[in-house]
Symmetry: D2
Subunit: 355 residues, 4 copies
């Protein structure tokens, strides 16, 4: 492992699969000035191949598309891209197969898609939460390539907020009702006629993802595999007219007794391993607990700590469970592009990108 | 009791307390063409007294203010109003005392405020749910007047959807997360800078109201008082950028076994007493169950059946409780002005307004 | 012509072309309980043909889909439908040809599409504004059928508000900046990611429609054709995050001198011909002038007079033109489905549907 | 004047008047990490004096309030504050007198309020547009203090976009319709019930400000005073449901002939004086012209170049004027706090803060 004064001679060349989609765009935006990575390939579906990126992307980011990327020619999503690492923001209808092809061709695949998340040898990685799961990639069968995934945007906040409670007090049951931002549905995604002044009380497959991914993420790596944990989860997922930031109302039943102060201390003390904290995209503090009773709020807190921290508030006793609280995480940053980039950073930092 | 061919020679003259507020305005709008009631007095706080209604109201309703009401002079909120019934949309900071004064002066007070809701001799009335509670008014100590209240806007949908489950299967526990419309906060209420593209995870005293009012509403009237029921409730209340219509994600634990089909049948079969169904403001059907998994939605369903019905959907098994589902009710109609008017209608229909 | 005690023995059977689209749905909603028309056919594109209407429509209206229409089998958009009149809410990519086929097959085509609007023998009809244009249909070359169109949703409010000014004072120039609702773009139409908390300063072909349709509408019928008027128009069209209701900021230069009071009187005096006022869908008053300086507002005024009236306010002198003012009209009611239905009503009332 | 390698030994201590208001908060946010200024005093109205800033501010910024400012005790808005420069975000009901007091007491007052904007000896300053107006402060009668103002948020974009056209082609007439963000109204400002899904076609005094401030800003400094220019302006101002960013649809009549290309070149070539470009808060490029016809959009472009640039698009011929186009500027950054800070920076850069 490298020291704190870690520097690279040259940036690592990366490609983005699904570069015109909304996760792809966020990856482009966040990687455009990344200190360690340099975008060397933008790949998308057939109808974009051969065009300049600016001519086939409906750019939705609130920053100008950098000139050199605007002019870059879009490639097909096939191995042969001039890079070592590919970030995948592909739609799940095609992600599974394409990502496998890239891994087989020797690429490190940093995926935000759901297809390989539950594969037994693929880490569903949140560096601050389950860094040990990264060991799984040694068991992957690709000659040189690897696949690493990050969780669904509705799961990331829960996983990070629950991790310190799970470690200190044990979890028996988790009940979560989410209020999810429209950007979570991609582009064009939710029609304005459907969501303006409205709530949609259903998101396809979302509740299932919460109820399964969380158990893997908090599971234990041993004997070359993940032993998922076994507490019960019930999720209800809603789409709300908020641009970015997923909010969740959470109730938890713990295994051991704890006070409200104990929980807040657990959250305040929570931090990733020392090598994580210094990563370019890592938050200074992964969890922020707010004592004001009207916090957290998506408009105010989704972007704190570069959009990579999870905000928590309103902890109080629950008449049915032990405690209830509210949490918030940025779905396209921490819950998608930023999470993927952080995963790539820890890989690079651990020297695994150079295998 | 009068027959089905029930007609009044003259309309009953009514007054509205707090007529310039948002509940007051909704009362004005709904009573302006009511077949049984005629607005004869508009009362508001000191700074409006003596002015024409149109000159002191910031009219927020999507219909034109009727000419005769626009020109009506606003009175003070003191007994002496030329009517027999007063509807109160007063702010809770003043409602308690003023409503008592009116009741003591012999008025029938139909209140939407929270102040007297938990008084032991005051019905917290939803005609389809607990009509028997109306007996309580015989025990009120006013010489002639009476006070009848309707529940908080976040409680009404829960009470109506849970009533048939409570009756058929018994309730052990109820967990509710609400997503409440901005109109529930009155005017000016929520600042646009606070709620546009945002969620506020806190509404003052709202969770307490859900957790207490529900037990009284579903309680049993006997021996001249209400015996509240005793299941456990946990509520988490959020403000969302929706104009009208409170949505709730509900989980329930029942006392006896039931299937999803049993619950849907219970909801479908639910109806008020026959004399309620024919009231001018009563819904044809109090509960609508939708089988489409993306329903109910505030924008589509808040106004069905004149805004007086509760919509339910997404019933499914819950890994932690027995079942979970989503419900929706119109907060300023069924949850405020419409609920109050329905209460007045049943009183009139039962002949109690002429005591 | 029939007398004021006009009644039909039987309702006229009508069909709706493009019944699953957003204009089609509004037509279904408004015709479902129409006193003169009965929906006898719902037609849509190939992928819906043969299915029940409820199974192929993404119902967006805030009222329940009537049961008998929900179960109706969807037909193809081809002559042979069991009705005499067809309302067309077809997309302009296919409307031109299909509408012509229906007219040739003998149907009365009441179209909301743009394709035939500028045809020399097709009335671009607003009954209160240019009823004489209806004479044009005598010159249509179809053996029995006819085509009548109503204007674009961004034009209707302008045409109605300008008509009395044009008649009394003459128009030299009109400058209009519109702020148009999302429902004007159909479904799925505008993506929520594009319009939430945003303005899009461009709507394809919209400015051209304003600048051409208005001149035909206010033109004079003589010698079997419309002589368009010739004042200058400049339009700037924007999409804004409003559900329904197009607002326009208008500046006008008149031919003759007039005071603000003169204009208001012209608007107040404006009315359609007597036989129009009594039509089921006609507004009691086509134009409402508001003296409050913060009116009109889409949320408050789009639905006045069944959504069929145009609201005007803020009339004041303009340093560059003579006057400026703001107007509002409901784009899917007066500007689409309601306008079409009113056109069909006047045809029926004039006995022309039975030719 | 100092050289390009300009550095200060110590940061200049500044105070903020009206620090709890929405402009005040934006000033706090932007000055919290300013390279040249250090906040040394936070002043607000009586009810906040003596409290910690965090306890009397309803913090609306999407970044955390820095700890040292959160704990700072709020002072009264009276001379005696430990600083040399005060930024004023005071409400106009009190700003006039308080700002005069501070100037008389020797402070440099950088004001965002409207009260002194039209004073003959007070610069209404936009550094890129009218830097020469700064000479006016030599004629101010305060012993040591000075007052400098920046324009209203609805004027700033117009002034910047029109400046190069005015200089190159001359202006005869300007017609502007604005669509203004809710943040322009301060806090609590616009009630959500008034603006959600709505447009308010009126903003108190706003049209007058556009029609007067613009003429002073583009006026010529000579003989110790500003000679305002004399073209005609007509403004129509609307409030729309957008969080930040004022959009305007503009039509212009020029004095000399020009092509669309000429205008775009004028905008592209526009830049402030060299000493302005290097100021910490100055945009790299004051004006961005977009060739995409659906740009500019508030959600995408309000924050480009730190929120300090003006975006322009949709230039085309106008049937009534010569040209029409759309512009966008960030109302609380370029149009308020950022504009004020840039004014302070140029003062400091020119050595005038040390007079």
């Amino acid at each position: 492992m490298m020291g704190a004064d870690f520097h690279f001679r040259d940036k690592v060349q990366v490609g983005i699969l699904g570069a015109t989609g909304s996760v792809g765009q966020k990856l482009v935006q966040m990687l455009a000035r990344h200190p360690w990575f340099m975008i060397n390939a933008l790949a998308a579906s057939e109808r974009s191949v051969g065009k300049k990126y600016k001519d086939c992307v409906h750019w939705l980011m609130p920053t100008l598309l950098p000139q050199e990327l605007a002019e870059m020619e879009v490639s097909a999503c096939q191995p042969g891209l001039p890079c070592r690492v590919v970030f995948s923001g592909l739609d799940s209808s095609v992600a599974g197969e394409i990502e496998t092809q890239f891994a087989e061709a020797g690429y490190i695949v940093i995926s935000n898609s759901r297809n390989h998340r539950m594969d037994p040898d693929v880490p569903l990685l949140i560096p601050e939460v389950n860094l040990s799961h990264l060991e799984l990639i040694q068991f992957q069968q690709f000659p040189k390539g690897k696949i690493i995934t990050n969780p669904n945007c509705s799961v990331i906040g829960l996983a990070m907020a629950l991790k310190p409670l799970f470690d200190r007090f044990g979890l028996e049951a988790v009940h979560a009702v989410t209020m999810q931002a429209i950007s979570g549905a991609g582009y064009p995604g939710v029609a304005s006629l459907d969501i303006q002044d409205n709530i949609i009380p259903f998101i396809q497959s979302e509740e299932e993802k919460v109820e399964t991914e969380l158990l893997k993420i908090l599971g234990k790596f041993q004997d070359g595999k993940i032993d998922p944990c076994s507490f019960k989860i019930s999720a209800q997922c809603n789409r709300v007219p908020v641009s970015d930031g997923h909010t969740a109302c959470v109730s938890v039943k713990l295994k051991s007794k704890a006070t409200e102060q104990d929980l807040i201390e657990a959250w305040d003390a929570f931090s990733g391993a020392p090598e994580i904290v210094k990563l370019p995209t890592a938050p200074e503090k992964p969890l922020y607990y707010f004592h004001e009773n009207y916090y957290p709020q998506p408009k105010l807190h989704r972007l704190i700590d570069k959009g990579m921290a999870v905000s928590i508030g309103r902890l109080r006793k629950c008449p049915l469970f032990d405690f209830k609280f509210t949490l918030l995480s940025h779905n396209t940053v921490r819950g998608a592009a930023g999470g993927a980039i952080l995963n790539a950073e820890i890989l690079l930092r651990q020297g695994q990108i150079f295998w």
